[in-house]
């Protein structure tokens, strides 16, 4: 796939937009891709890395993905420029059942570099805004610099059909920071979304997920109305290489999207 755009999101974090070079591949992708799925992005000679598809199914002419430069493959991807060709295998995995969210209020809770999978769901819903009730987005990062998709956060902040709550961890604020300071679960509890007719989509580092689930429970959310996406190390993506499982559940095949109820049935020591 050819890189057609790249954007620096935060220190070490980049977003790339790639387009298919072969029309048949694009058609196959459009048939198969649904929000929540992931792919293996690669540079020959370096290897492949697994990221979610950060662009929504409602915009399926291209793929956007966001990653932090941290190893061999992500460094090669980060060094790739517009016009360069990278590889993509996918889309793999299951999806967010977005049509089951129709008519409901939605709350998105996300932390740090875990906004990309959530963002894919957010845009899928915003692109058919009339089908959903109230939309609330709670997003936090360690510091202001670490917030990703800053241009989209501005856009969402200006819309009157989205309730956007931004926060940074204490000490991560800048003098001109006008939003909240505090950890995501705390800020979520202050925002106090009603669990009535509401679906929560949460994604973040394991520690944030753990405490966000506690907060949502406190707010009265039923585990079956809370969705998250698990990101385990993967190599094959097709249920054979044997590493992404949590207990008997293979994240690449049965996930990556699970309800909190499903996650709580998994052996917690394997997460």
């Amino acid at each position: 796939m050819k890189i057609v755009a790249r954007h620096d999101e935060a220190p070490g974090v980049k977003t790339m937009r790639v387009e298919f070079q072969n029309p048949t591949d694009l058609e196959l992708f459009k048939q198969r891709y649904r929000t929540g799925m992931f792919g293996l992005y690669g540079v020959y000679g370096e290897g492949e890395s697994t990221f979610c598809v950060a662009s929504p199914e409602t915009r399926n002419e291209y793929i956007e993905f966001t990653f932090r430069q941290s190893g061999r493959v992500t460094s090669a991807l980060a060094n790739a420029d517009i016009g360069d060709v990278i590889t993509f295998r996918g889309p793999y995995g299951n999806r967010f059942p977005i049509e089951q969210f129709y008519g409901k209020n939605l709350i998105f809770v996300s932390g740090g570099i875990a906004l990309p999978p959530t963002r894919s769901v957010i845009w899928s819903c915003l692109d058919q805004r009339e089908k959903f009730g109230k939309i609330t987005i709670v997003y936090g990062a360690r510091t202001v610099a670490d917030l990703v998709y800053k241009h989209e956060l501005d856009e969402w902040g200006k819309r009157d059909d989205i309730d956007l709550v931004l926060t940074v961890d204490p000490g991560g604020e800048t003098p001109d920071w006008k939003h909240r300071v505090g950890f995501v679960p705390t800020v979520l509890e202050q925002a106090a979304p009603s669990p009535e007719n509401c679906i929560a989509v949460i994604c973040g580092p394991p520690i944030m997920i753990k405490f966000t689930l506690i907060s949502l429970k406190k707010l009265g959310f039923d585990e079956s109305n809370v969705y998250t996406t698990l990101e385990n190390r993967m190599k094959c993506g097709v249920g054979k290489c044997g590493r992404c499982n949590v207990g008997s559940i293979y994240v690449c095949k049965e996930g990556p999207v699970f309800t909190a109820a499903e996650v709580s049935r998994m052996p917690q020591a394997d997460l």
Binding site: Y44, R233, K235, K240, G242, N245, V246, D270, L271
Partner: protein, 337 residues
């Protein structure tokens, strides 16, 4: 009518199969170890081995194999797929546990995405298994509800004659029948008495073990830490196992051309599951040993209805610290489920 293959005709058989274009493979001992390897003459076979040190797996799922070749030009990547060489093979003298191991892994390589690297070799290989008349203390096929003369995964089963001068021939599949039709004139009609199959004592109660493993409360039992304290994470058990199938991809080459390889990998290694963030779902050796046992006797059968173990015992036989599946399941057998 049973037919007999006499030992002194085997060299003719090998020659005949080779003339017919088959690569003839069997148990071969060399200075440091033993494996299933290609032979030119029957004298190279060593049927005295309980089983070769290395399992049959590597003939179908090699330790390392190229998957594709890439060349990169300006704004263009060309790739060409490798496919296993289309050679026809006959493995003469497989052990029933090794042949069973292949059948166990078929559903794994076949579900969802069909792995042609595996199946192309499966489809062009005839497996002639020799029933075991000897076993050692590590053999545990009977504990896995298999037997020293299991036919699972085999195309032909041979039973050694009591006089040790040949084998009774049981053809099990069309592929096996075709291979033995090539040598039909070298077989004899009639049936000498077969040597008794090896006595393999049952080492643990599999059903009780599985029940213990399936109880979610036991996932975090201190048992796992105790049993795996000695494990040094060397992955010998994985690599010698006929059913362990986990793999890794690695690119070898430079910016302009190279190959992508599929290599054996192991759940014993910390890097196997390590996230980029440093978080590791299976951060300790005990969590990794638990994964190995759970995968073989709980997760894999949950998916494919068969245990991912054929009871060859190599994991215990070759373990540098004397722990393996046998020791673990024996210990589990004694626990209250």
């Amino acid at each position: 009518m049973t037919r007999i293959l006499q030992s002194d005709k085997l060299d003719n058989c090998v020659a005949r199969w080779r003339e017919a274009g088959l690569t003839v493979i069997g148990p071969v001992k060399n200075e440091s170890s033993s494996s299933y390897a290609a032979v030119e003459k029957a004298a190279e076979f060593d049927f005295s081995l309980i089983m070769p040190d290395r399992s049959i797996k590597e003939l179908f799922f090699p330790q390392t194999e190229p998957m594709l070749h890439y060349t990169i030009k300006k704004q263009r990547i060309d790739t060409s797929d490798f496919t296993p060489p289309p050679e026809k093979r006959i493995i003469f003298g497989a052990r029933p546990c090794d042949a069973s191991g292949l059948a166990i892994d078929d559903p794994l390589f076949g579900w969802d995405y069909k792995d042609n690297f595996w199946f192309q070799r499966r489809d062009t290989t005839v497996i002639v298994t020799i029933a075991c008349t000897k076993a050692d203390d590590f053999c545990m096929c009977t504990s896995l509800k298999l037997a020293p003369d299991s036919t699972k995964g085999s195309d032909v089963l041979l039973r050694p004659l009591q006089n040790n001068k040949g084998w009774q021939v049981e053809e099990l599949t069309d592929r096996g029948r075709d291979a033995f039709n090539e040598i039909a004139d070298l077989l004899q009609d009639g049936s000498g008495p077969a040597a008794p199959t090896a006595v393999v004592a049952e080492k643990f109660n599999l059903d009780a073990c599985v029940a213990w493993l399936q109880n979610p409360e036991n996932f975090e039992s201190t048992f796992w830490r105790e049993i795996s304290m000695r494990c040094i994470g060397c992955a010998s058990c994985t690599f010698l196992c006929p059913t362990c199938h986990c793999f890794d991809f690695q690119d070898e080459g430079d910016t302009y051309s190279g190959i992508r390889r599929k290599n054996w990998d192991s759940c014993s290694f910390a890097l196997f599951t390590m996230h980029t963030s440093g978080h590791n779902p299976r951060a300790t050796q005990s969590a990794r040993w638990r994964q190995r046992i759970m995968h073989k006797f709980n997760y894999f059968p949950g998916k494919f209805n068969v245990n991912s173990c054929s009871g060859c015992g190599r994991c215990s036989r070759q373990c540098p610290v004397d722990m393996g599946i046998t020791e673990t399941l024996q210990a589990i057998s004694t626990l209250p489920s």
